[in-house]
């Protein structure tokens, strides 16, 4: 790991997302016990940790998908739990992007329709939405696959389609939860290379949840989640 990747957050960089003492439980099972984290605008942050440590729960809380039981999450200084369900949906559609391990493509739709989905949901008509989605296929090495459905794509291809969908609206933050978890190493490397390249090109902040050190190596900074708490690899507060 390079020194730059381990650098702690400096005080003069803009904070785009912040979690403060987030507590989240599922039934009697605690997932987060007071997790705190600051994310700088434009950085690629890897959230690591063993299975069951709470890293995916932290990502879902940061994205406003889950509401913390205690503590708060702020995006651009605004607490997410103060937003309505519709407002959080709009946030996910217009300012966030997602790449998950499974189940993110709608199987009934073609690849280009899947990519265009955030645009269609935001009210853009079909033709311009598809026109805006198509360049992503060339950019991510998916030429010729526009009309295929998700069942006709390989795992790596499907993840790249998902990546295109996550980036098509040029979000401010891209949430990636084990984006290469279901891929072989070659496909995984390709997806990560494309993801980080595109993110840097557009200045997109990336929060990358993984337990794979090779995937985390693409990030500029790493934090570790253990027993529902966030710590840095260097022991410095994240």
């Amino acid at each position: 790991m390079t020194a730059a990747r381990l650098a702690p957050l400096s005080g003069n960089q803009e904070i785009v997302l912040e979690a403060r003492n987030v507590v989240k439980s599922f039934g009697q099972t605690p997932a987060l016990r007071g997790a705190s984290l600051k994310v700088r605008r434009g950085e690629i942050l890897a959230v690591m940790g063993p299975s069951g440590s709470g890293k995916s729960t932290l990502l879902h809380c940061l994205a406003g998908i889950l509401t913390p039981d205690d503590g708060d999450v702020r995006f651009d200084g605004q607490p997410l739990d103060a937003l309505s369900e519709d407002a959080r949906s709009d946030l996910r559609r217009d300012r966030f992007g997602f790449v998950f391990q499974f189940g993110q493509l709608v199987p009934e739709l073609t690849a280009e329709e899947n990519v265009a989905m955030p645009l269609l949901l935001s009210g853009i008509r079909r033709a311009p939405a598809l026109a805006k989605a198509r360049p992503w296929f060339g950019r991510l090495g998916l030429d010729g696959l526009e009309r295929r459905r998700s069942g006709e794509l390989s795992g790596g291809q499907a993840q790249r389609v998902a990546l295109a969908r996550g980036l098509v609206a040029q979000p401010e933050v891209l949430f990636a939860d084990e984006p290469t978890g279901s891929l072989d190493s070659m496909a995984g490397e390709l997806v990560m290379t494309l993801l980080t390249t595109a993110a840097r090109e557009y200045g997109t902040t990336v929060i990358l949840v993984t337990h794979d050190a090779r995937v985390a190596a693409y990030a500029g900074r790493e934090v570790v989640v253990r027993d529902g708490l966030v710590g840095s690899l260097t022991g410095v507060a994240p």
């Binding site: 039934g27 369900e85 519709d86 996910r92 966030f96 998950f100 993110q104 949901l121």
Partner: protein, 586 residues
């Protein structure tokens, strides 16, 4: 969103098509049955309405206002029987060219003429004249049209007489209007009318109305549950799809619209299929004797309101139910929530079911309302409460049964199944709740219709009493309905008369009985004693006792319990004389 919803509905591959077909079939079946029930209600009403003219001249007919200068029509109505089938004869005598004309015929029959219903005309033609045709002197001038016939099987005859003949006949009355509406509740009745009721007055159809009303109302519930169940087919795949849309930023309402589009498409196709099913069922349905008589095919019709109600209401309901069925998915972009064992259902879920049972039991024990509308208001809420109670109590009953099964079973498969059922009885019961309700409704409908059918044609409710010809021909001092009294029955024509209770009445009816027994085709005559404590159809009660008289009651008294237990009357007429009658009222 509607376009996206349509795209997801029609291009989702084999699984989506299969789901669409199942959903369509569920809606189509429900709509077909609903339309059939609605048309049956309409048919009963139409059939009943064509009994109205038979109430002409009775006390139950509201006093009509004839145009000035109308020539009176002498009118007398009576019953007859052939081969176990009731024949209704209307004797008329026009006194002038403006005398009212009964429906279904072009003009009043002249003396020596008669009009017969098509069924009776066919019977007359196919039967030796000595057995049937000779009862009606004169010649057939034509057939009675459907406007005057409740059923294609109705055996009606309108016989022409001279005014002099009928003017001296007992129970004949001069009328200036033909009744156009069935008798309503007491009040505004014609006090000068005949204190009798027509043999085929249409009484009892209200009971069938009640049954169909319950069935039609209840049919909606399984239809909606079918839709909800079908909507949840392949739920995991759909939840994944909708979760993906939510993750991409779809608002809950947008997912609702997409889900509703799919269900609405299926519902619209299902409604079309349902109408097709209705028209396919219409012909066989017309042959079913719900009211004891077949329907005319044209009676099984739907009003514009019915069509709109079903054609719009069902797709809208389907969309709402589908949205409710998928509401859990809409709130989570992650799809299926992390699984935790749900809290077990509480025993208080049994309360609505118990309340419904107690509600119905109250009316069974304390007597039901006399009027049909009263019965509708009494029983429909009770049955609705039981249906809701079944749905609410179902998960608790499922859990209780599963726990008992888990404790007693020794097989691994049964143990796992029982534990899974006990773990999440709500989901398990949801899958079969439609079937449970459909079974309940079907059972109630079958029992109700069977009971009603058994009562039809029988003034006092026994199936065996269908063998009894009940007539009030010239029995003015005597009420129509009666029941056996004590004593040894003197045989007549192999039949029997149970003596009436008072010797004076026995003497009064003796000439009448002799006259009746002399009619060709009559094998026996039975006289039945009037008893104000009897439960008889409402119209008959009116005929028996005028409103305001001491014996009159809007609510018939309960039928004597001892007689209720007499499951059948002795065989009639041959071997009756040696058999003891059922125990009469103490």
């Amino acid at each position: 969103m509607i376009g996206l919803g349509l795209r997801l509905t029609v291009s989702g591959g084999r699984e989506a098509v299969a789901r669409l077909l199942i959903l369509t079939a569920a809606v189509g079946l429900g709509v077909g049955l609903l339309l059939t029930a609605l048309s049956a209600i309409n048919a009963v009403s139409a059939q009943n309405a064509r009994h109205a003219w038979l109430w002409t001249g009775t006390v139950a007919e509201p006093a009509g206002h004839a145009p000035a200068g109308t020539d009176p029509l002498w009118w007398s109505i009576g019953g007859d029987e052939f081969a176990g089938r009731q024949i209704l004869s209307v004797n008329v005598a026009a006194t002038g060219p403006t005398s009212p004309v009964p429906p279904g015929i072009p003009r009043d029959p002249a003396p020596g003429q008669y009009y017969a219903s098509p069924a009776l005309a066919a019977l007359i033609r196919s039967t030796p004249a000595g057995e049937l045709a000779d009862r009606y002197p004169g010649r057939m001038a034509g057939t009675i049209g459907n406007a005057a016939l409740p059923s294609p099987d109705s055996l009606y005859i309108i016989v022409g007489h001279t005014a002099a003949q009928l003017a001296h006949a007992p129970d004949a009355i001069a009328v200036t209007t033909i009744a156009a509406a069935l008798p309503g509740l007491p009040g505004g009745l014609n006090p000068k009318g005949l204190n009798s009721s027509p043999p085929d007055g249409g009484a009892g159809a209200g009971g069938v109305d009640l049954i169909f009303s319950v069935v039609a109302l209840a049919m909606l519930v399984p239809v909606l549950i079918f839709i909800a169940t079908a909507t949840r087919l392949s739920a995991a795949r759909r939840e994944q799809r909708f979760a993906a849309l939510r993750l991409a930023g779809a608002r809950p309402r947008q997912v609702s619209v997409i889900a509703a589009v799919e269900s609405t498409v299926a519902a619209v196709i299902g409604v079309v299929a349902g109408f097709g099913l209705f028209f396919a069922l219409r012909i066989p349905l017309s042959a079913v004797r719900f009211t004891g008589e077949r329907f005319f095919l044209s009676d099984l019709s739907l009003s514009v309101r019915d069509c709109l109600l079903v054609g719009i209401g069902v797709p809208v309901s389907a969309a709402v139910v589908a949205s409710l069925a998928l509401r859990r998915v809409r709130i989570s972009p992650l799809g299926v929530a992390r699984r935790v064992t749900p809290r077990p259902p509480r025993a208080r879920r049994l309360l609505p079911l118990l309340a419904g049972l107690v509600y119905i039991a109250f009316f069974l024990l304390h007597g039901r309302p006399a009027s049909n509308s009263g019965q509708v208001w009494a029983f429909v809420p009770g049955f609705a409460l039981i249906m809701v109670g079944l749905v609410v109590a179902g998960p608790w009953l499922t859990m209780a049964g599963a726990r008992i099964m888990a404790q007693r079973t020794s097989g691994a498969g049964a143990l796992i199944a029982a534990r899974r059922l006990a773990d999440d009885p709500r989901t398990a019961f949801r899958a079969v709740s439609g079937l449970v309700l459909a079974l309940f409704i079907t059972t109630v409908a079958v029992v109700g219709i069977t009971t009603q059918d058994a009562k039809e044609g029988s003034p006092i409710g026994w199936a065996s009493a269908k063998n009894v010809l009940v007539d009030d021909l010239a029995v003015r001092p005597l009420p129509t309905f009666v029941l056996p009294g004590r004593g040894q029955p003197p045989p007549i024509h192999g039949g029997v008369i149970w003596p009436v209770t008072t010797p004076s009445r026995a003497r009064r009816i003796a000439p009448l009985l002799a006259r009746l027994s002399g009619i060709p085709g009559v094998e026996s005559v039975i006289a039945v004693r009037a008893d104000g404590r009897l439960t008889v159809p409402r119209a008959r009660c009116w005929a028996e006792a005028r409103p305001g008289s001491p014996r009159y009651s809007r609510r018939p008294a309960p039928f004597p319990r001892a007689w209720s237990r007499a499951r059948s009357w002795p065989p009639f007429p041959a071997s009756v004389s040696a058999t003891a009658p059922p125990e009469p009222v103490p």
